[in-house]
Symmetry: C2
Subunit: 158 residues, 2 copies
């Protein structure tokens, strides 16, 4: 942030701006064992002990955590609306066939599938699965973006 | 997923399991211009045009999007609980002082600060800011994790 100083120049108040990144996504869950088992059935692995309060999954350069939803609400200083709250995650894949395969994997793992793979209004192909705690994931093939071998996604315009 | 086949061996039903990664986080917003301006005040940049329905920010190896919350709910096949819905993002930094500086940046950008930086029960230091649409971000220093120069975060145990 640049602020006017008392002199005739501006100076940086802090060392740096907030970097353009996300470190951790915590999903609030009602039943930790059930939630963990679902993501493990998808193929995800964690070193968390069975008795750990929080389960952390390394997900590329960030971490996905599962934690008791009531505790997460308190820790986040928010009131729980009780349902979905305006955040949707997406998992991008390399082709429409991969979308269908991923949706099938999620269904086999116990997800609800409210929208199967289909062409989208933005020129891609996607479906949606919902995890046991009601968190929706869009599974998408976006031909306008670059999906790198390491799983990272790059906007075409950048 | 491994399934029993008709023969006396198991075979892979799909090419691969669901990889352990997240491609996109979409935040539902009530006022796109207000939301975009907030993240731009934090220092984030986007190539989105002013008239674009969705604003995409490249955030390390994933993308953060801002989109109309009602449209996102329809697209995600969920009912909007109207408040927070069990997802909290976190932004990790290298020191307690960086937590305080980031919280101050967010406050200057217009965020609510329901919890200022303080030591946490898990041995770290964190605070919380809430964006104009009610999405909370924990800002944390976790001495148990590795924060790499590229901004990625690594669990100590992996």
């Amino acid at each position: 942030m640049l602020v006017a100083s008392g002199t005739n120049r501006t100076e940086r108040l802090y060392d740096r701006a907030v970097e353009q990144r996300v470190s951790l996504i915590t999903l609030g869950v009602a039943d930790q064992a059930r939630a963990r088992a679902f993501y493990e059935r998808l193929g995800w692995t964690t070193n968390a002990a069975p008795e750990d309060d929080v389960v952390f999954f390394q997900a590329g350069g960030l971490i996905v955590a599962l934690w008791d939803r009531d505790q997460l609400a308190v820790d986040s200083c928010v009131t729980d609306g009780g349902g979905w709250g305006g955040v949707t995650l997406a998992y991008n894949v390399g082709s429409p066939a991969d979308v269908d395969a991923t949706i099938a994997e999620a269904e086999a793992a116990g997800a609800a599938i409210p929208r199967h793979g289909a062409e989208t209004f933005w020129g891609g192909y996607s479906g949606v699965f919902v995890d046991p705690d009601g968190h929706p994931w869009e599974v998408a093939h976006n031909p306008h973006w670059t999906l790198r071998p390491d799983g990272s996604v790059q906007l075409a315009s950048d």
